[in-house]
């Protein structure tokens, strides 16, 4: 059984694939170091989930809020912040440009952008920059069917 959370992560990665700057370089839960050929790219992680229960009868309904981190990674000699902001704009439009986008085609009740954090490091032959956009996706399941989105 595929967990609903995995379906959501897959749907986000699919929606982000093909953006102007990062193209098809979208990686889920990747931990291996990125090579130059992988860049610029997006990384998608589900990092935490909070649950509330409702109802007294079995199975209870679960309202889940999953935190999804999308990291835009760039390595170049100039305009790192402009590049990261441009990618962030592409991500934000892809995930909020329509009602279908905001609900991931009906998988989510709501998708909201909470925090954008930007980090730089000059410890390589070219500077590296990462913009991390943290989204919160809200969805419903039953406790005995974590793979079925309500």
């Amino acid at each position: 059984m595929t967990h609903a959370r995995a379906q959501i992560r897959e749907a986000i990665a699919t929606r982000l694939s093909g953006l102007t700057t990062t193209g098809t370089r979208v990686f889920q839960s990747r931990l291996r170091p990125l090579a130059d050929a992988d860049l610029p790219c997006l990384l998608v992680f589900c990092i935490q989930e909070d649950l509330d229960y409702s109802g007294l009868d079995y199975p209870r309904r679960q309202r889940r809020q999953v935190q999804i981190e999308i990291k835009a990674v760039v390595k170049q000699t100039a305009s790192l912040d402009d590049e990261l902001d441009g990618i962030a704009a592409e991500i934000e439009f892809a995930l909020a440009g329509s009602l279908t986008a905001v609900t991931l085609g009906g998988l989510l009740k709501e998708l909201t952008l909470g925090i954008t954090a930007i980090d730089f490091d000059a410890g390589l032959e070219k500077p590296v920059g990462i913009a991390t956009l943290t989204y919160v996706g809200t969805y419903l399941t039953l406790e005995n069917a974590p793979g079925v989105l309500l």
């Binding site: 990384l43 490091d121 990462i130």
Partner: protein, 97 residues
């Protein structure tokens, strides 16, 4: 007393390769220096950290932002670890130009 600066300069001269240093506003000069590029990973990204070890006497006038050419590769000085008073050398962290 050991003359570390002279000792270090001899080692660098023996182990090094010709590199071109171009201080801002000054003429380019070729000196022997030890170039290394060790693999590093920062912020999930793999690459290498290029550094150049130069004898203190050859490092005069170099500042961050100055140009360095090693073979066909061009760099700028990103950071400076000046140990000229003790060991007699200066290590420059480089970035691709």
């Amino acid at each position: 007393m050991v003359d570390f600066a002279a000792h270090t300069a001899r080692i660098i001269n023996r182990l090094g390769q010709p590199v071109t240093l171009t201080p801002a506003g000054g003429p380019a000069r070729v000196v022997n220096a030890v170039f290394s590029a060790r693999p590093e990973t920062v912020l999930l990204v793999g690459g290498y950290l290029p550094t150049l070890r130069v004898a203190a006497a050859s490092a005069a006038g170099l500042k961050a932002g100055d140009a360095v050419a090693v073979g066909a590769n061009n760099y700028t000085i990103a950071d400076i670890d000046d140990d000229s008073l003790d060991s007699g050398d200066v290590v420059y962290q480089l970035q691709a130009a």
